[in-house]
Symmetry: C2
Subunit: 295 residues, 2 copies
């Protein structure tokens, strides 16, 4: 099967996710053409997941595809942006059409869940990795960055933390009988576009929890030039996970934000004050979390 | 050196190419924010180059970075779009700061040459590859696709073909003394944004010559539902290359287009008629060229 037949397999299994109302020209040309919304800014990010590093190589391709897209899309939610389109670059050594078809189905599931489209891609030969380039928009000037946290703001997080990390810590990667709850947190994360309206209305700063609560809160505090005080008992820990999973484990893709207002549907876990660093119940909390080329 | 220090090295050596007039928020947050132009559509493509497949692993990183960006950007020129911004995902096993700094300098050179910016990226650990996601725009409805060629149009190509292919055919990858002319065609291609205005004014269809003239002309003819008749003596062959390099070798990144009007600065190499397939001096020309997973 040559490259062009493989592309056909993927596009076929993307189904209605390869074309959409704002995708003027989808896969198959030198580039895709996408309609832009007036009075909006583009928001863009790129992420790579590598087999054996970011996901178990034996995982079901439908979950691999789903997760790769969700991991990328989560960065848009963290900016209070909604997605418009996604490009995917797949590097693979020996592509099996059935495997690719399932991968594409997983990507289509994630795209459907986030109301977006996959309008372009690329195949290259090499060790298995998936690079996802995600593109959304925000009304002019309404992106929420990591830089706006101010003394007096409270710290909020969506959902529960640590589930994905507990799966990774226990190396609980036997997926043969279907995914248990912790495995599902790891392989089937959900980018939190459901909190975008609340972020736009109230948040002063936001980041998604991809490296771990402590590491990502450090990033936010550094960018904003503030100190964070966390309260351990308030941190929502995913059932079956430990507090340390919630503090130091990545891969949850929940949204961490600061606000001077209550954040509906999110949990208050601490507050911002002047200074620097992250503290847990008064003690310094180091930025432990996922960091390429170190761990 | 951890991931965040490596990012600092890259961003530092991108210099003024990490921020620009329309880059509202550059590298360092969950995503970049980019201003959009009114009455324009977004044009987007993604490409991966893998060490040992798409470029020699021992090549100078300044050329590797330059080439990766140009190869991606060429797809925008082929749509008659100008670039706005680029995202880069780098997969690398043992990143050396000096190597990364040079890679970033090469990317900055290409971005400067094409008047664009690198506003986001990602590091992952694995075998060396570079994925470039390129984003441009066109005035509403003005993208040139592969689909518009009509009987009676003439076929034009920019520049000269086969130089990069001659370098690859001869496996002339000893770059120690600096690049000779053929090596420079391979490692230092130039995306042809200088023909974008002519494409917008006159072209009915366009594609960039990345897989090879015969393969890419087949793509264009298939998309347009037409037949192409090429005239061998008219094909501009790069000095030191052979006609077969020009016909079947990729990596030139010249622009191939069709038009019912003269195309200033381009060479007429044949004409379009009703039917299908590509013919050279009346004989069928197969679609030989670069195809992943086959050659």
């Amino acid at each position: 099967m040559d490259e062009f037949e493989l592309i056909r397999v993927v596009v076929e299994h993307l189904g209605d996710r390869a074309q959409g109302p704002w995708i003027t020209l989808g896969p198959g040309d030198d580039a895709a053409v996408i309609a832009q919304r007036v009075d909006h800014q583009a928001v863009a990010s790129i992420d790579t997941v590598v087999a054996g590093v970011h996901f178990p190589a034996h995982a079901a391709p439908i979950d691999v595809g789903y997760r790769a897209l969700m991991v990328g899309l989560s960065d848009l939610a963290a900016m209070a942006a909604y997605p418009r389109y996604v490009l995917v670059a797949l590097t693979i050594d020996t592509p099996e059409p059935a495997w690719l078809a399932e991968l594409a189905q997983g990507m289509a599931q994630a795209a459907t869940a986030c109301d977006t489209y996959l309008c372009g891609g690329n195949f290259a030969r090499g060790d298995l990795s998936i690079t996802v380039s995600v593109h959304g928009d925000v009304p002019q000037g309404r992106a929420i960055t990591r830089q706006g946290a101010r003394a007096g703001d409270r710290i909020y997080v969506s959902g529960e933390l640590g589930g994905a990390a507990a799966c990774v810590r226990q190396r609980d990667f036997d997926f043969a009988g279907g995914l248990n709850d912790l495995q599902a947190r790891y392989m089937r994360p959900q980018a939190r576009f459901d909190v975008v309206e609340a972020l736009r209305a109230h948040a002063s700063a936001a980041i998604d929890v991809s490296d771990g609560l402590s590491a990502d809160l450090h990033h936010l505090c550094q960018a904003s030039g503030v100190r964070a005080n966390l309260c351990a008992v308030d941190i929502p820990v995913f059932p079956g996970a430990q507090l340390d999973d919630a503090l130091c484990g990545g891969d949850d893709y929940e949204i961490l934000c600061t606000s001077s207002q209550p954040m509906p549907g999110m949990t208050c876990i601490g507050e911002i004050e002047r200074g620097q660093g992250v503290y847990l119940d008064g003690a310094p909390l180091p930025a432990r979390g996922y960091n390429h080329f170190v761990d």
